[in-house]
């Protein structure tokens, strides 16, 4: 048998460091590669919706342009939103499985565990967004965008993912378990419907269109559409960034406070 030193160590550092966070990011990335079914669903679901919107409903919707061009930005946000929201389930599972108690009783940065989940969500979304864009191009999505426009659109989608992921983390911390946390995914899945993601807002009844105008998905969708298709962006870009940064801060603060309050 290997001899193993069990002498108590009295000099352990009482504070966390960046290495902890990196180790926890590595953990969540590994977990993502072992949950291919989750990743597959995060791609399949938007692709199915994309095909359904384009080929089933698309002919009946007056969007002022090729419907495939109109709907792809919306589908990208749906992909991003759904991919981000599953983080709530991951965080809630960590808590019910007891591993969160172990992390919280170790001398590491409290936020490291959450940062790990957020980083993994960003990576997963990069994969699923790339796949959805690929399929959109295959079925005739005709982007009129420079490399810089693409970069700006992807940057905004990344900000949107980060914001929703931090909200998802906060939801995961307060949820009573993974099942309850999964409800968030459904809410997020429906968020784009009452927005400019799939149909023009002015085609809705007045009550809905005023809701849609206030839906954060609307300015984000309008901005992504403007960047990729050359439609006018106007004040949407500023609104989109304000919404995303605001949601990100709210999610981050709520997650951090709620995480500590459990103690």
């Amino acid at each position: 048998m290997t001899t193993l030193d069990l002498t108590p160590r009295v000099d352990q550092s009482p504070t966390g460091n960046l290495g902890d966070t990196l180790a926890l990011v590595g953990r969540c990335l590994r977990r993502s590669t072992r949950q291919l079914d989750t990743l597959l669903l995060a791609v399949m679901l938007p692709v199915m919706l994309l095909l359904m919107f384009v080929y089933v409903f698309g002919g009946a919707i007056q969007s002022g342009m090729d419907y495939v061009d109109f709907v792809v930005p919306g589908i990208l946000l749906l992909t991003a939103g759904y991919g981000a929201s599953t983080t709530a389930v991951d965080v809630a599972s960590d808590i019910t499985a007891g591993i969160m108690d172990r992390f919280r009783s170790m001398p590491i940065r409290a936020t490291g565990v959450m940062t790990g989940h957020v980083a993994a969500s960003m990576a997963r979304n990069a994969v699923s967004t790339a796949l959805v864009i690929g399929i959109a191009l295959l079925i005739g999505f005709d982007a009129q965008a420079s490399a810089l426009d693409w970069l700006a659109a992807i940057g905004l989608i990344a900000l949107y993912v980060a914001a929703l992921t931090w909200i998802a983390v906060a939801i995961g911390v307060v949820a009573s378990g993974p099942e309850a946390a999964s409800g968030f995914s459904f809410a997020i899945l429906f968020l784009p419907y009452v927005s400019s993601a799939f149909v023009p807002v002015d085609s809705m009844p007045s009550v809905l269109s005023s809701i849609a105008a206030w839906n954060p998905v609307t300015p984000v969708a309008d901005t992504v559409r403007g960047l990729l298709l050359g439609t006018p962006v106007g004040s949407s870009a500023a609104q989109a960034i304000a919404w995303c940064v605001g949601l990100l801060l709210v999610g981050w603060v709520a997650a951090s406070v709620l995480f500590r309050r459990q103690r």
């Binding site: 290997t2 030193d5 069990l6 459990q262």
Partner: protein, 305 residues
Amino acid sequence: MTAPIIAVQGLRKSYGDVTVLDGLDLEVARGEVLALLGPNGAGKTTTVRILSTLLRPDAGTVTVAGYDVVRSPGRVRAAISLTGQFAAVDELLTGEENLRLMARLSHLGRTEARTRPAALLELFDLTDAARRPVKTYSGGMRRRLDLAASLLSRPQVLVLDEPTTGLDPRSRNDLWAVIGDAVRAGTTVLLTTQYLEEADQLADRVAVIDHGRVIASGTAASLKSQVGAAHVELTTATGIERIETDGSVGDVHRILGDVERRGLLVDSWAVRTPTLDDVFLTLTGQPAEPGQPATTEARELQEIR
């Protein structure tokens, strides 16, 4: 006398109207093995969670390795390792990946971070399963991995909340052998248990806890002697009869002679010294067998949280 490594004074915790800890006092000396023994809902897990900085006390002071759990949680965390009631390992990672992660989070030096995971996997008989995801492990294997994770950081205080629940007798013995090694190397152990036998055999000292207070503490032998003397137990056709004895040969001889003179038909007889079961019954008015209903359901629920 050196200062205790764990010192708890007047610890109180309640959830709404339900008082879980009601002025608990406790001291554990460096290198000691202390068992917290009590029925479900007595406050064992709550105590452990406060000691591990997972819960905030309502009142009272708790210091671990000289640091206050509320004011210096980081210092306390650097001194302890917690093994909770549920195996706190990542199901999707392999056993080896779990230990490597914990090694990094424990801030072990470069060499130790590389060698200790493999050594611990071997020690806990998990080398063959090291590259399999934990979700394929049996319950016993998970608990072993969980304890291996706790020993990675070479803690000063090992906190074990019902560590052998769900383990078969052989795994239980193996686990205790490793913990014994850690204790001989100078580790302090605080464990909670419902197994009287476990407390009796392994702990230097037992603290009996009920309704959120320590109602008795001492060595298992001294607790037993508080309950009363040994007795001769006679099993007859009509039931069991107990006669007190001081345990000496002469006294037992006298009692058995008496029985013979009375012409009692005895199926079997034995000299019994009090068990911790008796201690429990006397101190709390209820038996402490595992699975016994708690005093109130609400308290039990709160404690599980």
